[in-house]
């Protein structure tokens, strides 16, 4: 479970251009569920995702990762713990928690141009210091899982939109994270590719992954495998649906 308690995120605090992106969110996201944060542009979905994924720190409030998400995970300096409160962690510890717990899929995919699909998928594993052969084998397995093994040596700028997205998903799964964070993953996809993406999410759910998606795409919010849709508006929770 990911528990958010009284999360507030204010940009440019105390200045004339102060902006409250998240205005006091208390939320519990269950493990092994697909949760969608739904809301209009500027509602605070992406900020909330970045806070959940430990990419930003809140202005106030706490975020705790509970057991279920952390089983089998061992963080150097922290050890094997049942739960960890991430907002107070110094950056050197937070980096490892983020690296081992979350896989990120970005709206623009953020693949590194100029290198191959295989190298892009391998990237998140480099800081872990595993053997290159092991990393390479795992990356190829992931590409095979997404039907991209034949495109492993292709540079990412040569890939189609659907292929690039699947490479981005493979990269997110490289370190076998228990939580997938996806920010508007279907924004640049046509309907068929969007449906394909949600099918992949269904498979990941079946494997025990927890997924949090920020989206206002009806294809995502209405997908069968989505367990929970949380409406976000003006930085606050504005209701909930199935």
């Amino acid at each position: 479970m990911i528990k958010l308690s009284g999360i507030i995120k204010i940009f440019n605090s105390g200045r004339t251009n102060e902006f409250v992106a998240v205005g006091g969110v208390t939320l519990a996201l269950e493990a092994n569920r697909v949760t969608v944060l739904k809301g209009p542009s500027g509602s605070g979905k992406t900020t909330l995702l970045s806070l959940i994924g430990c990419m930003a720190r809140p202005t106030s409030g706490r975020i705790t990762l509970h057991n279920g998400l952390l089983s089998g995970k061992r963080f150097s300096g922290i050890g094997e713990v049942a739960e960890v409160e991430v907002t107070s962690l110094p950056e050197r510890f937070l980096t490892e928690v983020r690296r081992q717990t979350f896989g990120f899929i970005f709206q623009q995919f953020n693949l590194v141009k100029g290198v191959t699909a295989l190298e892009n998928v391998m990237l998140p594993a480099y800081p872990l210091g595993e053997k290159h052969d092991t990393v390479r084998r795992r990356a190829l397995d992931l590409l095979e899982m997404f039907g991209l093994k034949a495109r492993a040596a292709a540079r990412v700028e040569w890939l189609s939109g659907g292929e690039a997205q699947r490479v981005a998903i493979a990269r997110a799964l490289m370190n076998d994270p228990p939580v997938i964070i996806a920010d508007e993953p279907t924004a640049h996809l046509d309907s068929k590719l969007s449906v394909d993406f949600m099918e992949i999410i269904a498979k990941l759910k079946a494997q025990g992954k927890t997924t949090v998606i920020a989206s206002h795409d009806p294809l995502v919010c209405g997908a069968a495998m989505v367990d929970r849709v949380i409406a976000v508006r003006d930085g606050r929770i504005d209701g909930e649906g199935p």
Binding site: R57, P58, S60, G61, R62, T87
Partner: protein, 332 residues
Amino acid sequence: MILHPAIVALVLVSLLLTMMSLAGAFFGIRIIRRWDLSSGSEEQLVLERQTYLISTILSYVLVFEIGSLFLFIYTADSMHTLFTGAMCAAGTLYVDSYGYPALLLKILNVILAGLWLIFNGVDNRAYDYPLIRKKYAMLLILAPLILAETVVQTLYFTRMNADVITSCCGSLFSLEGGSLPSDIAALPVKAAMAGFFSVLGLTLSSGLVYRFTGRLGWLFSFSGGLFFPVAGAAFIAFISLYFYELPTHRCPFCVLQREYGYIGYPLYAALLVGVICALGVGLLIPFRNISSLAGILPRVQRKLTLGCLLAYLTFAGITVLQMVRTDFILLD
């Protein structure tokens, strides 16, 4: 005041150290009063972000503090030619009444700064800030001492007067001076030797026991701390005689000069490293039961023990080598 470049550098460094340590202490008061890790308040989160920055800045500042001691001694030594009667740093420090207090304050602050760096290093390696209040409480002790050092050092430099006839080390560390250095110089050689080698032996043996079994930590820390003044006194009482090969020359500063291969610098650096490491081991013992430090402290304490043993062995090695190598015979 004599506008020597090193004096200007020392005064500026001291002012910088004072400002940074006072700012750190001011922040420390907020930490001590307001720190609450269970709270998710905006103030708490701001404190969590700031403490990392403040402690990093202070780490660098206190490394400067340690370096400034050696610059201070070097400056005092190199300026002895300006004062009638001075033969080394001993005379330069005696040109006014603030020289020796400034030196003693600097030594004290270097030891405390070293201990703070150890404490800070351990605290930063744990994920839940287990020593944060104690770390800043320690800074509240250190910061006024650094301020006092800056004031006394500045008074020392500003009161310096080249017209003053000062005393040479020969008279300051003579047997008949009636002062503390003279009393130390007048210690019976055999007793001083016995004390020196006994405390050294106790430190090395308890250190080895602690390094390999984790027992006798308090004894090691105590004897390692005690060795620092004992070695200082032993240097004046008999070690110096072997370096100078003169039966009456007991100055602790002349060994910093070129004629003696600047051997005083590694000797005193070894002593400082040794005492900081030994006291650091004792300082950390009460915190062994904190769960987030359980995997960190034993490793750090073993390293500190090794550091202390190597440092004191370096001091003892240089000393004994000189005693063996020289033609000077103190005891039959």
